[in-house]
Symmetry: C2
Subunit: 340 residues, 2 copies
Amino acid sequence: MATASQGGKPSPERIFSTLIAYQQSEALKAAINLDIFTKIGEGAEEAGALAKAIGASERGTRILADYMTVQGFLTKEGTHYKLTPESAIFLDKRSPAYMGAMAGFLGAPHHRENLANLTEIVRKGSTIAGEGSNLAPHDEFWVEFARSMGGLATSSAMFIAGLIGSAEGKPVKVLDIAAGHGMFGLSIARMNPNAQIVALDWPNVLAVAEENAKKFGVSERWSKKAGSAFEAEYGDGYDYILLTNILHHFDHGGCVKLVKRVHAALKPGGKAVTLEFVPNPDRVSPPVPAAFSLVMLANTDSGDAYTFKELEKIFSEAGFSKTDAHPIPEMPQTVLVSEK
Amino acid sequence: MATASQGGKPSPERIFSTLIAYQQSEALKAAINLDIFTKIGEGAEEAGALAKAIGASERGTRILADYMTVQGFLTKEGTHYKLTPESAIFLDKRSPAYMGAMAGFLGAPHHRENLANLTEIVRKGSTIAGEGSNLAPHDEFWVEFARSMGGLATSSAMFIAGLIGSAEGKPVKVLDIAAGHGMFGLSIARMNPNAQIVALDWPNVLAVAEENAKKFGVSERWSKKAGSAFEAEYGDGYDYILLTNILHHFDHGGCVKLVKRVHAALKPGGKAVTLEFVPNPDRVSPPVPAAFSLVMLANTDSGDAYTFKELEKIFSEAGFSKTDAHPIPEMPQTVLVSEK
């Protein structure tokens, strides 16, 4: 629960600031679009120089940079703006850990429009978007996802690769379902030179993952399979099948149906590795996984953020013998490993 | 400046949460629109009963109520949702301090659309909205403002009424420029039975203020004057002229022009009383006044949140002898009193 207002006396301040919180999203998105962090990092530290560097008005640049300072993404010393450690690492394009691209997906008009209809969505109980659960074949939305979200996935992907013992270098065959940017399978391939990865997604999305496979120099151990997770022929004999950020799009029945296909494609003793936002049984903690449920309400027909018990039941009904949970340190998601 | 991420180690978590902060605005707006706080206050504490009370799906209601709990506007005990002190006072319609109406103005599509174009606005240096600074005559937008924001203005209005000694009950003549909901002038009228108020605004907005004057039983000492603050005949001999939340819409020259008209309409020794978001000279603190500058960038041609020094200069150039600042306790705004 949030802390009380100043001095413990209730005030409407937090209601006010929550109603205008969208300004923070828009401002950070604009700052990333205009690339002000990279230009400040390169030395354009004053409003005039920065405006010139980003091709914008000085007035607009000054106000945006001040706002970014208020939000803690810059500091201001006299008339000089400076990067914070956070913005230097994640918002300066010259940094290998640059994550500004995620503004593209998180701030996509599609997301905004769905959320803007939330009153109606709550009445109905599911998305009111024509495209339903965004799972139409070849949906360009997932190309945006693949291009935007690879960076944020890096540490989770490394965690998963480590968790399944990739460093030992045993020959393994891995199916990466709804691969998106491909980072989860690719991290295993990078850590284990004897891993073979098969990535499944729509063909337009796989093109992004394929670029990443080339970039990481693992193309010869990475192959693609285009199609729907519910319909494509998976092949069989997999040591691991990855289900990263996919189950939350479906209801219990849909999840069981999908996980049964996963079960069938694993070799005996093989494991399904699931990445999810997993709230506690109270569904209101921890904050990020619990809040994710709203995103699924707005964007899907019947998806949700499932508790561990609910996920365990899905895997059990699909034939898995046991499921263990591994929270990712300092990240809001949990990895589940389910044994065939 | 914001605090460092967990354990002092930079993480992209705050970037992520800022990019999706708009979800908080949409969720609170939907919860207010659906009136879940009043219904919970009336006893519909479980998802099923609450859904029935608000005429919505149980799934959507459960997810929204959980999200409101995550955001600290509700608590959850088992399957029962309860109001927090803050939501009981400000978001339950049965409370005299209800402020849910402000979602109408703060979440207005007009505001959202302007902010959604922030990249372009920063390039240009001013709003790209056709209607410019929202100061077109009879703009319906200001009716929405007047209907939404009166509640939030209450404590500032009481502060101003007290500051100018209304409790002493001396006969005073007050002009309330851009009166909106009229709360500023009306609070003086309520505290001082010998105060005469003249409210100036567009005729459609004045209709809202007039309702409030009736509600407070001060109609016989409250009169209206329809027109533009830049063109209407003010009359003269005023003891006080109120300039609440208006100067930030204009550039320095526009402010001086307006304040000169105010100077002329005051009697000798009369005072202009200004309510503004006043940032420190660094323009990045305190957070709320400093951040307000972005709202003016997005919504006006050349408005801004002015520092005390800048405001003092405006009043001095318009002929005022001195200006004092009075920060409002526990509120983000400052009252300036300027003497003729």
